[in-house]
Subunit: 259 residues, 2 copies
């Protein structure tokens, strides 16, 4: 892990860009030596211990494009709750080399949808599994490197992006203690089955009128998770319409579990 | 409204029992002249203004029986958020005269369920509508009396108990600005239709494995509400298994809307 830039932002949060091999990433850490602005007991309890770390997995649109949204979340976590947060670019996204098989799978999906045909599990699997199989080991490597940094090493939460990556990571990576996932229906059958093995506390966001995801399939996936503590937060609106208040609800979910 | 007892509790909250005609009730108000213990901006903003009032509608089990649960919620709201909270006994419950038609409807429901027959809308309507038609005017009368008290007169939230009462009250009572409802499926068709007219912000709790309510019917009712802002919080477990953290989530929902 090599840091390539560092700046202190006006909320005191320190933002550092890094590369991990050829994968670009960003790390946000709370203001050094400061008690977080929030007076909540959960936040001040972290002051003398390693900060909890939230892995924020981006959607596959390129970090540059989603930077404002990701940085907004990360800085809220850091400034208000004393969490560190980090993200890395997904395989095939942003400035990373494109993946021919993903491009092919996207073209196949588009053709099927334009023809009005049902989207079969084969197409979903071709679209999602290559991403999962590359991204999950990369996240685990990033986690090794991040937890070795001074001031980190606390409990780890995960949130993001492509729900299938979250499911696989929650299944194979025991250092992840809680996850906030965005419900979706473009999930291969093999991942839906893995969901039954997930045991960590989950908070699942669902957009009730998501134009890109089937509501019943998303509810079925929520139902499938094996976790004893799982909460579904369903809100009105389309895919990008998650209400602002869910940011704090997510932070409070992590504050409950990352101790 | 006649107060029959008053005590200051150890958290500074003042609890007063009252009668409204022959209806018993309880009012909890924040410690006088104190800023609420919570340092949240939303709470301290209320310090110099009339306190928001949360109407806590009990389940039809009698106030005496559900007192610990209700008082726990009310005192949390008052001590942590500076809200006042009040409850009144439902018609036919607790020490109030039993209602023959409700007893008859309950016996009919039991017979149908024991016979394994489907519970038709006629039976649900007989069970629920007499309660709705009596309770709603009583809540409105209580609201008149409560809002006339010194220190009250702020915005009003509603939470509770029998969801059909909440739906009707949210439809006919414009002083209720936001409501936290407990999803259920024993809802007469006429009330499901009224749900489309509800326009205030809603937070709806649903217990995923509620032994007394059908999950899909509860989801359909959530879907039916006309409100632009509505959030569903679905949690694992049975009817009485609502997790403790939903108390604060409800308080924060009210804090967002009762300003």
């Amino acid at each position: 892990m090599r840091f390539t830039s560092e700046q202190s932002l006006d909320d005191g949060v320190v933002e550092r860009e890094f590369t991990l091999g050829d994968i670009p990433g960003i790390l946000w850490t709370p203001a050094p030596e400061s008690v977080p602005a929030s007076a909540s007991a959960s936040a001040s309890a972290f002051a003398s211990e390693p900060a909890p770390l939230i892995l924020i997995s981006p959607p596959p649109l390129g970090l540059r494009k989603v930077y404002p949204r990701l940085a907004g979340r990360a800085r809220y976590y850091a400034a208000r709750y004393g969490f560190a947060a980090a993200t890395i670019e997904l395989p095939g996204s942003g400035d990373r080399p494109r993946l021919a098989e993903l491009d092919q799978a996207r073209a196949d999906l588009r053709r099927v949808m334009e023809a009005g045909e049902p989207v079969g599990d084969e197409i979903v699997a071709a679209l999602v599994l290559p991403l999962v199989e590359r991204a999950v080991p990369e996240w685990r490597t990033a986690l090794d490197a991040l937890l070795a940094l001074p001031g980190l090493g606390g409990p780890v939460g995960y949130e993001g992006g492509v729900i299938s990556i979250g499911v696989r990571l929650a299944t194979v990576e025991p250092r992840i203690a809680a996850a906030c996932l965005f419900a979706g229906s473009l999930v291969p059958r093999v991942i839906s089955e893995e969901a039954r093995q997930v045991g960590i506390p989950l908070q699942v966001l669902l957009q009730w009128d998501d134009e890109g995801n089937d509501r019943q399939a998303s509810l079925n996936l929520y139902d499938a998770f094996g976790s004893k503590e799982k909460t579904l937060h369903a809100n009105m609106g389309g895919h990008t319409g998650v209400p602002q208040y869910e940011l704090d609800a997510g932070a409070r979910f992590f504050a409950r579990h990352l101790k």
